[in-house]
């Protein structure tokens, strides 16, 4: 179970790099980062998937936000 969660989290981080970091890099200002983050969370809430998967989605949103702010 632990290994599976660790793998999923690692996968989520990688996924965030490829899928979410790209638009984040293009962010012109921090407001856009927060807008992307809000949209990301909304998507996670609407998915109606299990709570572990929702955790991963929400964590991915937070990781992307941090990256976006850092790069802005």
């Amino acid at each position: 179970m632990k290994r599976a969660i660790a793998l999923m989290l690692a996968g989520a981080c990688l996924l965030s790099c490829f899928l979410l970091l790209a638009p984040a890099v293009q962010a012109r200002d921090v407001r856009e980062c927060y807008w992307n983050h809000t949209t990301c969370r909304r998507g996670a809430f609407l998915r109606d998937v299990g709570w572990v998967r929702t955790t991963i989605l929400l964590t991915t949103c937070d990781v992307a936000l941090g990256r976006c702010i850092y790069l802005s």
Partner: protein, 324 residues
Amino acid sequence: MKSMFAAASLAAICLSALPAASAVRYEVRDVKTDFQTDERALFTRPVAVTHTGEAVYVMDADYNEISVFGKDGRFIKAFGRKGAGPVEFNAPSAMDIVEDNLYICDTINGRIQIVGKGGAYRGGFPVPFDPQQICVLGEDRIVLSHIPMGFDGREPMIHCYSGSGELLWEALDSYYTGDRVYDAFRNFLVLVHTGGDSVSVVRKSDERVILRFDSEGRALSPVRVSEEYAFKKLTIPVKGPRKHLQGFCWDATAGRGMIGLLTMDYTPEKDLGPGRSVHLIDFAGKVEGVIEFPSLMLKVDLDGDRIYAIDAEYRLRVFSWGKP
């Protein structure tokens, strides 16, 4: 004398060990028998199902569309599309129906839209948050909830607006630890219309007390759900120390003077997802009955002896229910 005490104690122990009067088990039967082949009843992201006296409404957040079915599940029509204009939506998340109007949480557009049952635009107003849940107690008492972003500490999660968009009252501060992921789960709510003038607020985790408010925001007597209805525990993989959640329900509905809690179940991957039964809770908190479904359900809507549900394959199911 000693033997009398001993006998009385033994009797008391025996009585307390007796099981509580068990809840009634109800079975369901498919009314909509073509659910496997009816493509109009197959959705991609169904987020809400509700009904009027004549029809069943299903909202899809991907299609940005509301589909209308007869009470037997026969497709009638659909309306709505993606956009920000009238009868256009962007990832809507919830709806409620009062009299002839549907009230829709148009989530990404940050507004409430009011649409006639046939799909005609009737009005709406913006709100300063992402509306997640809605319960309309009257055309001038529209109760909404939202999940805070978790940046700003505690904030009210329940908001009541008039039909013209004036904020009337707010209630229920959010749970806040600073961990945005964990807090989001603790702040998942379902709003349920429980009779004329009251809204019940069900937390999806860690809380078996269901709060109730009247249309003026006054707290009504809460419902403490019996321990007979069990939490489902989960450790979530968040950063920092391990966090534990106690799943309470996946969805909630109301009918026949009771609150129906859709249970949660563990998936084969040990995740916590939707379950396959609705527990009917009376206002004293007792489990009056359990409705068992043949498969996992994501959304449920009680309507007398019918239940409209969205199953885990995103299909509309129409059931009748009763004792075996």
